[in-house]
């Protein structure tokens, strides 16, 4: 996969940037790569790119895909408008 291929469309992160987060910055798992490069940090929280990202990190680090873990996602499950009101008890 060429370095300029966009892996994470939400955050526009390329395969090259992901490889750099492994090689230069020392990411050894996907959540570390996420912290350093923003991969999987956007609107979809890695639902589209999570697996591809994990494969690239594993290949660049020379380890198995199992050992790089999987992206931890946070609430909300999908984007939520800031216009959302408070829940009345």
């Amino acid at each position: 996969l060429p370095d300029d291929t966009v892996v994470c469309r939400c955050e526009a992160i390329t395969a090259g940037e992901l490889r750099r987060s492994v090689g230069e910055l020392g990411s050894c798992e996907v959540n570390r790569a996420k912290a350093f490069s923003r991969v999987g940090m956007g609107r979809c929280q890695g639902r589209f790119c999570g697996h591809a990202g994990a494969e690239i990190v594993a290949a660049a680090a020379g380890v198995s895909i199992e050992s790089v873990g999987r992206l931890r996602s946070q609430a909300p499950v999908k984007p939520l408008s800031i216009a959302t009101g408070e829940v009345q008890a």
Binding site: Q74, A75, P76, I82, G85, E86
Partner: protein, 383 residues
Amino acid sequence: VTAATRSDVLVLGGGLMGTSAAFFLRHQHRRSVTLLERELVGRQASGTNFGNVRRQGRDLAQIPLANRARAVWGRIKELLGEDLEFVPYGHLRVCYTEAQAAVLEAHARDVRPLGLDLELFTAEQLRQRWGIFSGEIVAGSLSPRDGHANPRLAGPAFARAAQREGAQVVEHAEVVHVERDGGGFVAHTVDGGTHRGEQLLVCCGAWSNRIASLFGETVPMEARGPQMGVTEPLPYAIGPSIGMSSPIETEGLYFRQIRRGNVVFGGGLKGPALAEEIRAYVKPDNTLRQFRELRRFVPAFANVQLIRVWSGIEGYTADWAPVLGKSATTPGVHYAFGFNGEGFAIGPGVGEVMAELIATGATSTPIDAFSIDRFAAAAQRAA
């Protein structure tokens, strides 16, 4: 293979304080250093905070330290080889009431002799300069040389730089016990490693009491979780980091926009943080209350989507001041913890000051107000 190391200085805790102290111990003082980190460097409070590089609004006793830290931030690229996304685009505090405007004015007067120059703004001047605020906002105070940076990058970058300078940084090294060892100390890790140091720096964030108690010193401190959120990317328009100054906790929101366009925000009530379980939570009620306050602060935020929330584990001391300096019971032991949710900005300064203190026995920046013995003295007075 279990590790065994011996160094001049043993640093316990790989957050921003420990990694920057390790860096400066090598870079400025050429001490041998081993840093032990339970998990990965720069996580917990160091990696999950807002990323403010803010001097205004601090207790006056912290201003000299904050100034020193700001000087390090200004050299960050030169020191580390990367900029940590630090942008000196200013830190702005605004308020809803004339009473609070008077507080901002008094603060600007108080910090000027300490070397921090703030610019006061009327509501009209704020609207002309930024044009995003609601009509409720009556005044503001700008610290023009402050700004914000990326907390996810800072601790790991200091750790890498410390390693390049010759420090040993050991991750996945959870310390189970520390004891005296001749004239120095030895730390035992879960995996059977033994790490010896002539001097010890304890900077384990909300977990620091575990180590301090081994030396008969316990700080009244509890763990809380900041309630953070980030929006979808918007056109880049907001330079400074902006916060609401208010005596009402739920009103105290803050936000910044990163180059990518996302707006990062936090503030208001804290959430639960379970230090023992290493878990912290964002309460949905808190997020919805933040939404209300964000709309009141900047009405256009009503058109924006939240994409993610997170929290972390921060140590809050009983008197809202950090613990910095030498142990009161044990020569050779030093502390840097309990930063009350405002440690990031001063972190690199704390590292530089602690390195100086450990290497030379004294520091040119006043930190006496943060000595751990203040709690023993307070307990004695109460008894």
